[in-house]
């Protein structure tokens, strides 16, 4: 099908897109002791290029202390039919400063430039929101989950921007009884959005306190929204199986009602779907056991901080940030995932302290899969204060990006020996890399109407 707007006609078309040659990842100095701005790094991933596996450009933010974290596009395949739209701008929120940086990646994809900054103070004043996290586009508009109110208290809400990147206001009609916010994903053909729960910014900013989980300061519920009415209509109480339910992903197939959530502290994958009589159901389908540490009194949870579904909806990838492994599961039967691959890199259990010649600090954290499902790019930093708490040596060593070769036909994953980007060797000193995106859209950016 001829492309008129951005993205692809369908997930099947996205899989056939040309291989990625550049990718963008944010890198932070916030919380590292180095008084420099966070930046957007361009990484060369074209194996034919002389600068393959290197940072080839750094776009610094205007000030220090943003803590860049997640990012999202101004437009995706949800605007495929709109010739007036193009995937030109990447939005980079600062979780701590609340500034939202709009970056033009189209004029020169190798050297993105800053287009506009929506000031955090303006967002707080106009919407009473703080703590920007997930960015999704919605036709010509942009929704950003905000984890707190202007004072950092939960539950926050959703910031709505227009396509000129002006603040429209709050997206939601109501937060209902929702206690916390975090990630969200919507499936328009079913008029549904799912949202998850981390904690109030005032709770997670200072580091992780296990006792505060017991004090119900961290989330354990998933929420189902009437997407058009913009209000929550049902919640799943996940209990001990769903402590810190973070990333939520629907199948890419816009007709599917199946989706998944990674509960970070429980280190479980929750699967949801709509049953034959039209009721939403959930079940736990993956359970990663806590592992004993040779010298510590308390067994260590995996801390499954991210999940990703391949564009063909056949594989689910997850990380265990504290254990140090990346896993691949075949989810052809979403009720019964089968473990088909595992790679160790860093982590607290000492299974892979060095990867491709780089001494690791941190474990697998964020990851992005190529549209064809063959290359998984993995970074190691979670959040500056949590990094400092669990992997204090990351201050000297910085973050790392590696690539895992994945086999979408037979399953399986192996560490690629030729690719490693060591952010410990950056010109201004060790920085830390987090979320990754490609110029043409990727496996966590696009939604089909």
């Amino acid at each position: 099908m001829e492309s008129c707007g951005p993205g692809y006609a369908s997930p099947a078309d996205a899989i056939k897109a040309p291989r990625e040659t550049l990718l963008y990842t944010i890198a932070i100095y916030t919380g590292t002791g180095i008084q420099k701005p966070d930046y957007l790094a361009t990484v060369d991933v074209d194996p034919e290029s002389p600068t393959y596996s290197q940072v080839i450009h750094r776009l610094e933010m205007p000030g220090i202390g943003d803590e860049l974290h997640h990012m999202g596009w101004n437009a995706c395949s949800s605007c495929f039919g709109d010739a007036g739209m193009s995937r030109k701008y990447l939005l980079l929120p600062g979780v701590r400063s609340n500034n939202i940086h709009v970056v033009d990646t189209a004029t020169n994809p190798r050297a993105p430039r800053l287009h506009k900054v929506i000031e955090g103070a303006e967002i707080r004043a106009k919407t009473n929101l703080s703590g920007p996290h997930t960015v999704h586009c919605l036709g010509s508009e942009i929704i950003i989950s905000m984890l707190g109110d202007a004072k950092g208290e939960a539950p926050g809400g959703y910031l709505l921007l227009n396509n000129e990147f002006e603040i429209v206001g709050r997206w939601e009609s109501s937060m209902g009884d929702i206690k916390f916010g975090y990630d969200f994903w919507y499936q328009p053909r079913h008029n549904v959005m799912f949202s998850s729960e981390w904690a109030a910014p005032n709770t997670f900013m200072p580091g992780f306190d296990l006792e505060e989980v017991g004090h119900l300061k961290y989330g354990r519920e998933l929420h189902i929204w009437d997407f058009e009415r913009r209000e929550p209509v049902e919640s799943f109480y996940l209990g001990e199986d769903g402590l810190l339910p973070l990333e939520v992903k629907f199948h890419h197939d816009p007709d599917s009602t199946h989706g998944f959530c990674g509960a970070a502290l429980s280190s479980n994958v929750i699967h949801w779907w709509k049953d034959d009589v039209g009721n939403w159901q959930w079940e736990k389908v993956i359970d990663v056991d806590n592992e004993p540490h040779p010298e510590w009194p308390i067994p260590v949870p995996g801390v499954m901080s991210a999940i990703l579904v391949s564009m063909d909806d056949k594989y689910l990838y997850l990380n265990n940030w504290l254990h140090g492994d990346m896993r691949q599961y075949d989810i052809s039967d979403p009720h019964a995932p089968v473990l088909t691959g595992q790679v160790w890199m860093g982590g607290l259990l000492g299974k892979a302290p060095e990867v491709n010649g780089v001494k690791m600090a941190g474990g697998p954290q964020m990851f992005q899969l190529s549209l064809d499902g063959r290359r998984l790019y993995v970074t190691t930093s979670l959040f500056s204060t949590w990094d400092n708490q669990f992997y204090p040596e990351i201050r000297e060593r910085g973050g790392v990006m590696v690539m895992i070769d994945c086999d979408p036909e037979n399953g399986g994953m192996t560490l690629n020996p030729d690719f490693v980007v060591n952010f410990g060797k950056e010109p201004n000193g060790p920085s830390r890399c987090h979320e990754t995106r490609y110029p043409g859209g990727d496996c966590t950016s696009d939604i089909w109407l």
């Binding site: 004072k151 005032n202 510590w296």
Partner: protein, 126 residues
């Protein structure tokens, strides 16, 4: 009207001293005088600018990030804290050694205060 000023000593910056106004946040006063300090939110919520107070008293009632354990360890949030006496601080990320603890490596002991919640913390400032 006479301005009340206090002396700030930075113990981990070779005991450098600065005169600051009592009515203004320490982050602002110190940065104006050329001290390179980390910060993020500038409203007391994100802990990036935490420093360790080793002598003196500050008013940090507006901070909403520190729990009781961190306050007991002497941490103050410079973007909202104002000095009430002459004070001595350790600044920067190199002062954050006691700020975080790994709950699996070093779980809280029985005699230690429980993790605080924000409503209780509001009364902790002088």
């Amino acid at each position: 009207m006479a301005m009340t000023t206090y002396r700030v000593t930075l113990a981990n910056r070779e005991d450098a001293t600065f005169e600051v106004e009592g009515r203004r946040p320490l982050l602002e006063s110190l940065r104006e005088q050329g001290v390179d300090l980390p910060y993020g939110c500038k409203y007391g919520g994100c802990i990036t600018c935490a420093a360790k107070l080793t002598e003196g008293i500050v008013n940090q009632r507006r901070q909403v990030a520190l729990n009781k354990r961190q306050i007991n360890a002497g941490y103050v949030i410079l973007c909202v804290a104002r000095p009430m006496t002459d004070i001595t601080l350790e600044i920067g990320v190199d002062s954050h050694g006691d700020l975080y603890r790994n709950p699996f490596l070093d779980p809280p002991k029985h005699h230690e205060p429980k993790a605080g919640i924000a409503e209780q913390r509001l009364d902790d400032g002088p």
